[in-house]
């Protein structure tokens, strides 16, 4: 999934990779392609993890893991950092999700469990801020239920904010006409994918 997402991130893009699985996308960006990574705690031009022993507690990513700064990178305060996001300056944000609805609603911050201690962080700002929001998630839950749903049952992070979903089975665009399949993994056809998803899917457009 990470490699497939990396293919869709063009040269020159400003990109925020969410905490967890989305950070893996960075490992698949070819070194000759200049992509500028934003981390909402206040860095542009974020580089890979430092070598062991080279960690600096004052240089971390949004997941509070040690990172490095590339040449040309810079630091800024939180209001500027979220201004970049909310102001639509960041091209692509990649996030995980519990559920995505057919109209692009995103649920990824709260399990909905009544005794859970809520924590939202930057999820809601990232969801509505970037020009394109890519979601990276397993197609189905462990119980085999599709995570692409008609309406989210988990608490929402943002309304109508998701552009495209990358799963272990397919790449699907959220469009005004509905869910349009971009790619399906080998050995799976559209009918079967539609059955697993439980929602009507539009066939890929000719390229």
């Amino acid at each position: 999934m990470a490699a497939r997402i990396a293919r869709d991130i063009p040269e020159g893009a400003y990109v925020n990779l969410g905490i967890g699985m989305p950070t893996l996308v960075a490992n698949h960006l070819p070194p000759e392609r200049e992509v500028i990574l934003h981390s909402e705690n206040g860095v542009l031009g974020m580089g890979p993890a430092p070598a062991p022993g080279e960690e600096d507690p004052d240089l971390t990513n949004a997941g509070k893991q040690p990172v490095t700064l590339l040449k040309g990178g810079c630091y800024f305060h939180h209001a500027d950092s979220f201004g970049m996001m909310r102001g639509g300056h960041v091209d692509i944000c990649v996030m995980g999700a519990f559920q995505v609805s057919a109209t692009g609603d995103l649920a990824n911050w709260h399990s909905g469990a009544p005794d859970a201690i809520p924590a939202v962080g930057g999820a809601m700002d990232l969801a509505i801020g970037a020009k394109q929001v890519f979601v990276m998630m397993e197609h189905c839950t462990k119980n085999g239920e599709s995570k692409l749903v008609k309406h989210c049952t988990y608490p929402l992070t943002g309304v109508g904010c998701v552009s495209r979903v990358y799963t272990d089975l397919a790449v699907i665009d959220i469009t005004p006409d509905g869910l349009r399949v971009v790619d399906v993994v080998e050995g799976l056809n559209l009918t079967e994918l539609e059955r697993i998803t439980g929602l009507p899917l539009l066939a890929p457009q000719a390229r």
């Binding site: 981390s39 909402e40 705690n41 206040g42 860095v43 430092p50 022993g53 080279e54 960690e55 600096d56 507690p57 004052d58 240089l59 971390t60 509070k64 700064l69 630091y75 800024f76 305060h77 939180h78 209001a79 950092s81 979220f82 201004g83 996001m85 909310r86 609603d105 709260h110 005794d115 859970a116 201690i117 809520p118 924590a119 939202v120 962080g121 930057g122 999820a123 809601m124 700002d125 509505i128 801020g129 608490p155 929402l156 992070t157 943002g158 309304v159």
Partner: protein
């Protein structure tokens, strides 16, 4: 002569009253002014409202302030962490109030306070449970939620260096909330690794102009960096 330097940590937190709203800089432990927090614990002000991105890690710093029972309410975006033991226990037993704010709204509410803005409309959180019951508006086809500024009595921030006028420069991503919190509090206290002579900080590189800072205290922190150097 303007001299915002104070002699020690005790003087840095002197006069903080019970019931104050205290902003504390930092994102996780990066930029967290641990020594000022320890001084606030010793100073003993109670019934505090604390504004920070998180709600403490482990048993030191902000977590220690919570454990000391001095905090009535916390305003933050991400309280639950793998090592937020103290907050989790207080929250589950109903001994601390939580106002959960999306991180960008938290930053902008702090910035708005410092900039004299009465309120603003943010798209973040629209349609979610965090915006339930709140005033909303559709502006040019997009939906927004009304957000109010967060003012503070005191801000405790950590910076790399200061001069006696209170000008500050930061270090890497430890900058995070420091510059905006400094603007939003009536009394901003900065703990710094180093106090330099006036004129030594490059005027083009000063991040927080001294007008936003009331007290500066030098604290030698022992942070091991690349190559084991002290910073």
């Amino acid at each position: 002569m303007i001299d915002k330097r104070v002699a020690n940590l005790e003087a840095a937190v002197a006069g903080i009253k019970d019931g104050s709203t205290v902003m504390i800089g930092g994102f996780g432990v990066a930029g967290l002014p641990n020594e000022l927090i320890d001084a606030l614990i010793a100073q003993g002000a109670r019934d505090l409202t604390v504004v920070n991105n998180n709600a403490g890690n482990g048993y030191t710093g902000l977590a220690a302030l919570l454990q000391a029972g001095q905090v009535r309410k916390i305003i933050c975006s991400f309280p639950r962490q793998v090592d937020s033991y103290v907050f989790d226990e207080l929250y589950r037993s109903g001994r601390i109030e939580l106002e959960l704010v999306p991180q960008g709204n938290l930053a902008e509410r702090i910035r708005a306070a410092g900039a004299g803005i009465g309120a603003f409309f943010s798209p973040t959180g629209y349609g979610t449970i965090l915006a339930e019951g709140r005033e909303t508006r559709n502006i040019n086809g997009r939906n927004y939620v009304l957000e109010y500024p967060i003012h503070a009595d005191v801000a405790l921030v950590k910076a790399r260096a200061a001069d006696r006028w209170g000008n500050l420069v930061y270090r890497k991503t430890a900058r995070n909330f420091g510059p905006i919190m400094a603007t939003a509090a009536r009394c901003t206290v900065a703990q710094v690794d180093e106090i330099v002579e006036l004129g030594e900080l490059d005027p083009e590189s000063i991040i927080t102009p001294g007008i936003f800072v009331q007290r500066v205290v030098q604290v030698k922190t022992r942070v091991e960096t690349a190559g084991g150097g002290k910073q």
